[in-house]
Subunit: 318 residues, 2 copies
């Protein structure tokens, strides 16, 4: 057995964040060594409360949860996405209150600390706006030298956006932070809408979670109910996209990118119509996939298998 | 037999402009009633000279050719694309000099005059930067009320751009003009790279043009030689994309858009990384194609058949 990959998770929990967390806690390939929260789907504070409560229900109280940025680099928090994730961020499901409190460190401080403790091995997985990562990079520009890899759910390369015609919510919520993450000198795997929207969960799969005897796993199934309603307009049936879970599965090696060229990605940080876009230079890829020399960001456009079954099997395994 | 559609052609001749022109002159479905030129692939003046010479060789001296804008709305002419279209815009092929000269009117004035002569029936076909159309709209805001339809080759909806990662050359060369065209109150069919790059011409088809006994048709085949070289890096073989010809074939009804939703299109007129993009709101089209209420611009994403054979057959027919 190989040593699990130590993962710092940065999230805005969030329904699909919850599913990603459940997968990461269950996967033998990774060990979640710290979690930072950020405003996005809900406030950073609510995301931290949700995360603490979910960890408690899952019997993982030992993982530090640090409160991250409430506001973004160039603008205040915009109010979240209650119509997608519910008023409390987790589909308005009441999860038992955890006695645990947030860490005394900020999310950025926690990330920097973990980068020392797991120097050269730490995997950074971001599934919310990338504000905390930008703060950590500013506080300690040497951070990238101690991080093995970054996986970020965010952006839309050629697919339409979700929060605007051309931009995806995590990047749109903090374009400057996404730009900072992409420009830093580390290996980044960007997991955009192009690929996340191609992975869904079925009612049958959700039912398997609901039928489990562990309260945490059942809660994940219940929390998904709200999300399944939201996605009817997208897919024409009750289901959901697997945005954050796909990034988690890629980070854990549960699926491999089949097409993920390393290409220049520029984030539109303007206030124009393209604000929050991830402009990936995908010209010249028609004949064959082509990496640009010296580029350390790969944009995942296809993975080698659907992840729904693997996701549920991993969460249900004991 | 139905009356041919009167077409005002606005072009920057240009190799694929030449093919589009050859098709329009040969198609019984349309009658080219006037041509304006604009800087793009080459200068407006060179495009006019190329057009006059080609018309003369084709025996169509009677069609007025008006000189249009050398510079664009918010910036001067950028120097053209000699590496794509040759130094003279038509693959460095020498076409016999026509004794005809450009019309005394500007391209914008010619378009406005034709909109009166063919009021309610005129079809405007633009296959270059849309500067002349913007000038005409400014000179006569009532122009749209007399135009039956506009077909414009330009933009990239979800496909990568060509002149920049996100933008196509015709729109990038004059984003403000493209915005003016799209915002005017007329029916616009936008023919972007998403669909034009899917249509190509083969060496065999080019050979059929070269084998014709009419100097004009042979010249079209010769002019394409340079373009076939350029496209080796795109397609991995000698061939060419049919950007302008596809717009011409759609305008003449030679092929029908199979998927062309009417959606809001915003042109990024900023000087940021997304400059010249056509941001089409293609969200929510997964379940079924969906037109937005009140929108008069349709974005062609698929047509119902490959056009290469139809194009060559039409040019070769007598």
């Amino acid at each position: 057995m190989t040593t699990p990959i130590p993962v710092y998770l940065d999230c805005d929990t969030g329904i699909d964040d919850t599913v990603a967390l459940a997968y990461l806690l269950a996967s033998p390939a990774v060990e979640v060594v710290g979690i930072g929260t950020v405003s996005g789907n809900t406030t950073a504070a609510q995301a931290a409360r949700n995360t603490l409560d979910l960890l408690h229900l899952a019997g993982h109280d030992g993982i530090p949860v640090a409160l991250g940025a409430h506001d973004h680099l160039d603008h205040p928090y915009g109010g979240g996405a209650a119509w997608v994730h519910g008023e409390n961020g987790i589909g308005d499901v009441e999860v038992p209150h955890s006695p645990a409190e947030v860490d005394t460190r900020s999310a950025a401080e926690l990330l920097i600390d973990l980068s020392h403790r797991y120097a050269g091995r730490l995997h950074v997985l971001t599934i919310g706006p990338m504000t905390n990562i930008a703060h950590a990079l500013e506080q300690d520009p040497t951070l990238p030298s101690r991080v093995a890899e970054v996986t970020a759910m965010g952006g839309a390369a050629l697919a339409p956006g979700n929060i605007s015609p051309a931009s995806e919510a995590n990047v749109h919520n903090d374009p400057q932070a996404a730009a900072a993450l992409i420009e830093a000198d580390w290996d980044v795997t960007l997991v955009p809408l192009d690929v996340t929207l191609e992975h869904t969960l079925s009612e049958e799969q959700r039912g398997m979670l609901l039928a489990d005897d562990r309260p945490f796993v059942r809660a994940v199934g219940e929390i998904l109910d709200h999300y399944f309603d939201f996605y009817v307009t997208t897919y024409g049936r009750r289901t959901c996209a697997l945005h954050d879970p796909l990034a988690a599965v890629i980070a854990a090696g549960g699926v491999s990118p089949a097409r993920a060229p390393r290409v220049p990605v520029v984030v539109d940080t303007s206030w124009g119509p393209g604000r929050g876009q991830t402009i990936a230079d995908l010209r010249g890829q028609r004949v064959a996939a082509r990496d640009h020399e010296g580029v350390r960001t790969r944009v995942v456009l296809e993975v080698d298998a659907p992840i729904g079954a693997h996701l549920v099997e991993t969460i249900l395994a004991r």
